[in-house]
Amino acid sequence: MAQKIRILVAKPGLDAHDRGVLVLCRAFRDAGMEVIYSGLLPTPEQVASIAIDEDVDVIALSLHNGAHLTAFPEVKKYLENKGVNDIAIIGGGIIPEEDKEELEKNGITGNFGPGTSMDTIINHIKKVTKKF
């Protein structure tokens, strides 16, 4: 049997719109993943260190507050500073089309907007975790 995907779900910033992440945590767990939820209000640095401590395969980041271009790449940067390159990062939230390219360039994929089905996100996670 394949090993379970370990996933950290987090909102890296001053953003309490947690309806989406709470739904996703349940959906990921129902899809057979091991889910770690950071709780509200971690800094990008804290998110990176939880991810390392918990040895996750993927981090799912969500922001609805417009700070994604600052906060998502910071999580990536903190991982790299610790020499960690084998954790995939996916994003979601209220992310304008043109920001998606910018995030992709930084290695943050998915960047799903409102109305995305849970299946689409789960399939994407399966795809990005295969690489490792």
Binding site: G13, L14, D15, A16, D18, R19, L22, V23, C25, R26, A27, V35, Y37, G39, L40, L41, T43, N65, G66, A67, L69, T70, A71, I94, P96, G113, P114, G115, S117, M118, D119
Partner: protein, 572 residues
């Protein structure tokens, strides 16, 4: 006062008994079902096998007088229990206040938007703040990086507040500020701007949200643990009752509870339960309910399930008046009538085919008006994408104006009152609310239910189920899981760049240089001592700190040191 020990239980028993009696005496409907409906359904199947509302109230094919026997509410508008409206003539006398929530970028940016809205016929101001302000961090704090001015206007000190209300006569407008954890500080700033312009505090009209209970339940923007925040709310109640008699210092909000994923019954019940908690807080502080109850106002969501939403507003008024009278012994009419602001549902807006959102908002706004709202915010069609553009805000405001001035729905009060279906839904929601009140009391009250994570879990459960229904297409969202298109229409959106952050940081560093730092430290030290003494009202020292130009975060940090921070119970 009535017997309050088993109040909720008695209420529930009373309502169930009526229903039981009803089912015995509905000969007419039984005849219709067997002679007309069933034969018809055999030949013409229904297109669905599950007809129900968001609160899981079963919906029958049709309703008749027998559904209301024994529980028909014959009250008229402006009289107890105010089911039909808080005032006798409602919109024939005064239309609802068109209050568009706005705020972004620097105080200058928002000041310009407010003046634009006033010019276009808006009758009340409503300010949105950015995340750092809502959490009590200054623009120059590391945690604020990338967030300054993004979700609303940034306020880091009294100086920002002075800019925000520049050239707006505070004695002529009514201002609503959506701020909770730092509500006492923002109220102190607003009062200080007024005093500086020689406007006396008893002239100030408006509302600060201050509803910290729903923060722990749903919106989750807090600074301290619940009991400490409630102490500050108590101090605001005392202070404002005395000094700012026209200021609504708590807006008890169901809006965020609904947006977080609850259904109509949960929104109704949790919001009113919070309302009772504030009422008891005021009583415990020794205030007379008659003195402060008229200052408690409500804020509800209005989303797509049209009749259930209208019923929710009617049920809210009926429950509030009934419980205040029977359980809390309130006599005076004006203290019993629930008044509320409505906002159409942000969560109902879709990113896909955004123009459809204009239609959704119009339907929701109409339900709010038919439900008898006192003020209304209509969302803009582009808000699933970003903060709204001026053009989109204008369409949203015009939507309200069309309802108010073209449709004729304002002519008669509670025009849907008496509809068998609507009255039935009102009764059903009322009963569901009483069941929740009983449960919350069993858990030891709202704060204890929050600490146990009960209310948060209830909402998360409903929200997850609803998402599963959407995935299974049991719940349809046009343009998303039905009638979807591959190519999306492109729309113009508002971008807030990081310029606001630079401007705010510069203004703060100038301020910190030019203010009298000794005076700041002294004011903060006094506030610390007051915070440490639970019996002392903290509003006076908050005002002094604000006027010494202590920053928002400097003040909140004092609280964080004295009260500690709040970690929410794990609900996942």
């Amino acid at each position: 006062m009535l017997e309050t020990e088993n109040y909720w239980k008695n209420k529930i028993n009373q309502l169930t008994k009526i229903k039981e009696e009803n089912s015995k005496s509905n000969e007419n409907i039984t005849r219709w079902e067997s002679k007309v409906l069933d034969p018809w359904n055999k030949k013409n199947a229904n297109n669905n096998d599950d007809f129900s509302t968001t609160s899981e109230i079963d919906v029958k094919t049709s309703y008749s007088p027998s559904d209301l026997q024994g529980n028909q509410d014959y009250s008229m508008p402006g009289e107890f229990p105010y089911t039909r409206g808080p005032y006798p003539n409602m919109y024939r006398g005064k239309k609802w206040t068109m209050r568009m929530f706005s705020g972004f970028g620097t105080p200058e940016d928002t000041n310009n938007r407010l003046k634009y809205l006033i010019k276009n016929g808006q009758t009340g101001l409503s300010i949105a703040f950015d995340m750092p302000t809502l959490y009590g961090y200054d623009a120059d704090n590391d945690r604020s990086k990338g967030e300054v001015g993004k979700c609303g206007c940034n306020i880091s000190s009294l100086e920002d507040m002075e800019v925000l209300f520049k050239e707006i006569p505070l004695n002529k407008v009514s201002t609503s500020m959506t701020i909770n954890a730092p509500a006492s500080i923002l109220t102190a700033m607003y009062a200080s701007v007024a005093l500086k312009n020689n406007i006396s505090l008893n002239e100030l009209r408006g509302t600060v949200q201050t509803d910290i209970l729903k923060e722990y339940i749903a919106q989750k923007e807090w600074a301290y643990p619940p009991k400490d925040h409630m102490r500050i709310v108590r101090d605001m109640m005392e202070y404002c009752t005395k000094e700012m008699p026209k200021w609504n210092y708590v807006s008890i909000s169901g809006y965020h509870i609904r947006e977080a994923g609850s259904n109509a019954a949960q929104e109704l019940a949790f919001t009113l339960a919070n309302g009772f908690t504030y009422l008891e807080l005021g009583q415990k502080a020794g205030l007379k309910v008659e003195e402060f109850a008229p200052r408690l106002s409500f804020f509800f969501n209005c989303t797509m399930n049209f009749f259930e939403e209208i019923a929710k507003f009617r049920a809210a008024r009926r429950i509030w008046a009934t419980v205040l009278k029977e359980k809390y012994g309130v006599e005076k009419g004006s203290s019993l009538a629930l008044r509320f602001h409505t906002q159409t549902s942000g969560a109902s807006l879709t990113w896909q085919q955004p123009m459809n959102n204009i239609v959704r908002t119009a339907i929701e706004a109409l339900a709010g008006v038919l439900g008898g709202t006192q003020s209304l915010h209509t969302n803009s069609y582009d808000e699933a994408w970003a903060l709204p553009t001026e053009q989109a805000v204008k369409v949203a405001l015009r939507t309200q104006q069309i309802i108010a001035e073209e449709t004729g729905v304002t002519q008669s009060v509670d025009p849907l009152g008496g509809s068998y279906y609507l009255e039935h839904l009102t009764n059903e929601l009322e009963e569901k609310a009483y069941r929740y009140f009983e449960k919350i009391d069993e858990l030891g009250g709202v704060i204890s239910a929050i600490e146990k994570g009960y209310l948060q879990k209830e909402i998360a459960e409903t929200s997850y189920r609803s998402q599963l229904d959407i995935e299974k297409e049991k719940e349809v969202i046009v343009g998303v899981n039905k009638y979807a298109e591959i190519e999306e229409d492109k729309i113009e959106i508002l971008k807030v760049d990081d310029e606001a952050q630079k401007i705010q940081i510069n203004r703060l560093s100038d301020l910190k240089r030019k203010r009298d730092s000794e005076k700041v430290n002294e004011a903060l030290e006094n506030l610390r001592k007051t915070y440490e003494n639970n019996d002392k009202n903290c509003m006076y020292d908050t005002i002094k700190a604000v006027q010494a130009y202590a920053t928002l975060q400097e003040i909140v940090d004092v609280g964080r040191q004295v009260f500690g921070e709040w970690k929410e119970p794990q609900i996942f």
